[in-house]
């Protein structure tokens, strides 16, 4: 068990190196760079003064170490990354990227966690009800609703939420951050996808479990519905549920990028999106690596929990 966790950690480190190197390399291939977009192209700044442009460019490059060979740049970056120092951002030259991440991440993470919590609280009972009455009208209704969650992206949901709460009901402001009610629409928009996954997973898994031979054994032993369904079936379907939830949490982190922009939430997503648009490479590389690390660590934790909960894996290692 410890050995396999060690293996996994090693693999995570390897993946992070590959991912960051790949992103780093890609950024060098980029057609329009930060300077062109933000300094040189702006006529009022330099007005075609070529000498001045070169000067600015050289100073910029020197400041960010871009005049060194690529591999050296990457190694320097990697050295910093090991101790969570990703260097200064292009766009916010006074802040280091890790500071921006440290500011934005808690907001994104708490949004994602809140959405997951809502999804579990609503999704679990829905899935269980659908599984216990398969092919009834309530099952069809739940399945239909959950289908909508699968296919409609969270920002489209966000549109409908704004139309509903802000335009028609006039209950909530379209966007903003700081008050408790600012959480409602982002969390609702975000929770639909994981909620759907939970409902669908719970339904199929519980229906499948109820068909197992050992459930028949439990009935034959004289268990009540509560004893058989909660004591045997549900228990066995809930253990693998966390393997569904883990990736969902990671997915939420990434996709909150879209929703945060929409509701003007100052999370990591906002920084990331503008970093991509404005070619703020240090920010991009750092946040991609950071996201990847978060997702992989979540998956590792899920795996460990799963191994711990399922006796078959717990004992065999």
């Amino acid at each position: 068990m410890l050995r396999s966790i060690g293996n996994r950690l090693g693999f995570i480190v390897l993946s992070l190196v590959v991912i960051s190197a790949l992103t780093f390399l890609l950024m060098q291939l980029a057609p329009g760079n930060f300077l062109e977009l933000n300094v040189i192209m702006r006529p009022e700044a330099l007005a075609g003064d070529t000498a001045r442009i070169r000067e600015v460019e050289a100073a910029f490059k020197a400041r960010y170490g871009l005049d060194k060979p690529l591999w050296q740049q990457y190694l320097t970056w990697l050295k910093g990354a090991v101790v969570f120092k990703f260097g200064p951002s292009f766009k916010y030259p006074t802040s280091n990227t890790e500071e921006l991440i440290a500011q934005g991440f808690p907001v994104s993470a708490s949004l994602a966690l809140a959405a997951t919590a809502v999804a579990i609280l609503v999704g679990l009972p829905m899935g269980i009800i659908a599984a216990l009455r398969p092919n009834s009208w309530i099952d069809y209704l739940i399945t239909f609703i959950s289908m909508i969650g699968v296919v409609i992206p969270n920002y489209v949901v966000a549109v409908f939420l704004i139309l509903l709460f802000s335009l028609w009901l006039k209950l909530l402001p379209t966007a903003g951050w700081g008050e408790w009610y600012h959480w409602i629409m982002p969390v609702l928009a975000l929770c639909l996808a994981p909620l759907t996954s939970i409902v669908r997973y719970m339904r199929t898994s519980l229906i499948d479990t109820l068909r197992q031979d050992y459930i028949r054994t439990a009935w034959a032993k004289g268990g009540t519905e509560r004893q058989v369904i909660f004591g045997h079936a549900l228990r066995n379907s809930l253990i693998p549920l966390i393997t569904v939830l883990g990736p969902q949490l990671g997915y939420l982190m990434v996709y909150s990028v879209l929703v945060e922009r929409f509701f003007l939430v100052p999370g990591l997503g906002a920084y990331f999106a503008s970093a991509a648009l404005e070619r703020d490479y240090p920010m991009l590389v750092a946040s991609v690596t950071f996201f990847a690390a978060v997702i992989m660590v979540i998956n590792l934790l899920v795996d460990i929990t799963y191994r711990f909960l399922d006796p078959r894996i717990r004992y065999e290692g």
Binding site: K221, G223, D310, P311
Partner: protein, 326 residues
């Protein structure tokens, strides 16, 4: 002998979109206290559904359509949810075919054995635990104290089937239904399990309904036999007589198809064809299309189960006319 179970005209059908599958279509039999009855037949003849119906464990779209199953004078089929629940695992216990899948993989063996005792208030927590360990020892599981806290995957196939037997015995049931209890096991392990079942039956005096397709196992273990074909009873007989002189042409066909050690003879004489679809069974006697002795009447009218000797009943027109041949 005292009668324990009397099943009369039991019908369990499956209502599927493509039609009604008459899996069990009017079977009747009795079982006395301390007796063991083998229910035999080939795949899909309804033998499993027949016994599952007794404790109302038939799953949708299956439904018990008709019949009566008097267990100690009470009709099992008319019982409500709670009433039948109190019968299951308490008065009537089951042992299933595949010990690998019949135990819950995420619960300890100990918990699974004590469950029926706790569920039926048969014993308190401590008592149940002690009894479970005693039972594990009785079914031949070494170091039961330790194994009590282990999980099913830590047991081999034969050991799991022993656990299933211990679990069935937990509340001292008056009837044990064993559904192909040895089919999934190797020969040497099968012998161990049959031996164990026999010992347990002798010690506790419980009655056994054993479903099997293996004539050897049935002949070795059971006092009586009932042969089913396509949802109907073909023949009922005491085991000794049946082995000597099977009466229904289908029983004879089965006997002729079954290979026995040291019973070398010329060409095997199997029954031609395959069992019919239960969606649309043949008219008259359901066996007549495969029967070498079929007469005109066989394809027109279904034969009744008639008594041809003490404890012997046959549903066949030839037997009705001439009694039991050969």
């Amino acid at each position: 002998m005292e009668e324990l179970l009397r099943v009369t005209n039991l019908k369990t059908h499956f209502f599927r979109p493509d039609g009604v599958v008459r899996a069990v279509d009017g079977i009747s039999y009795t079982l006395n206290k301390g007796e063991s009855l083998a229910i035999m037949g080939e795949s899909g003849c309804g033998k499993s559904v027949g016994v599952m119906s007794l404790i109302q464990l038939v799953r949708k779209p299956g439904r018990i359509v008709e019949g009566q199953a008097l267990f100690e004078g009470r009709d099992l089929l008319k019982m409500g949810k709670e009433e039948i629940r109190q019968i299951r695992g308490h008065c009537i216990a089951m042992i299933f075919q595949d010990p690998m899948t019949s135990l819950n993989p995420t619960l300890t063996i100990g918990k699974q054995i004590t469950e029926p005792m706790l569920w039926h208030n048969y014993a308190g927590r401590q008592e149940a635990r002690e009894r479970a360990i005693k039972l594990l020892a009785a079914v031949g599981i070494p170091s039961p104290w330790q194994r009590f806290t282990e999980y099913p995957f830590q047991f081999s196939g034969g050991m799991k089937q022993r656990v299933m037997i211990a679990m069935a015995l937990a509340c001292e049931p008056r009837l044990i239904i064993a559904d192909e209890p040895t089919t999934a096991l190797d020969v040497t392990v099968q012998a161990q399990i049959i031996d164990l079942l026999r010992r347990m039956k002798e010690e506790t005096g419980t009655s056994v309904l054993m479903i099997t397709h293996d004539l050897g196992v049935a002949a070795d273990f059971c006092d009586k036999v009932m042969v089913m074909y396509a949802g109907r009873v073909a023949e009922q007989a005491p085991m000794d007589e049946f082995v000597e002189r099977p009466c229904h042409p289908y029983s004879r066909g089965l006997m002729n198809s079954t290979l026995d050690l040291g019973r070398l003879k010329g060409r095997l004489d199997p029954i031609p064809g395959a069992p019919p679809s239960l969606l649309n069974p043949p008219a008259g006697c359901r066996f007549h299309p495969r029967c070498s002795e079929a007469m005109a009447v066989c394809s027109e009218k279904e034969p009744e189960l008639v008594e041809v000797g003490p404890g012997r009943k046959v549903a066949c027109w030839t037997a009705e006319k001439e009694g039991c041949k050969n």
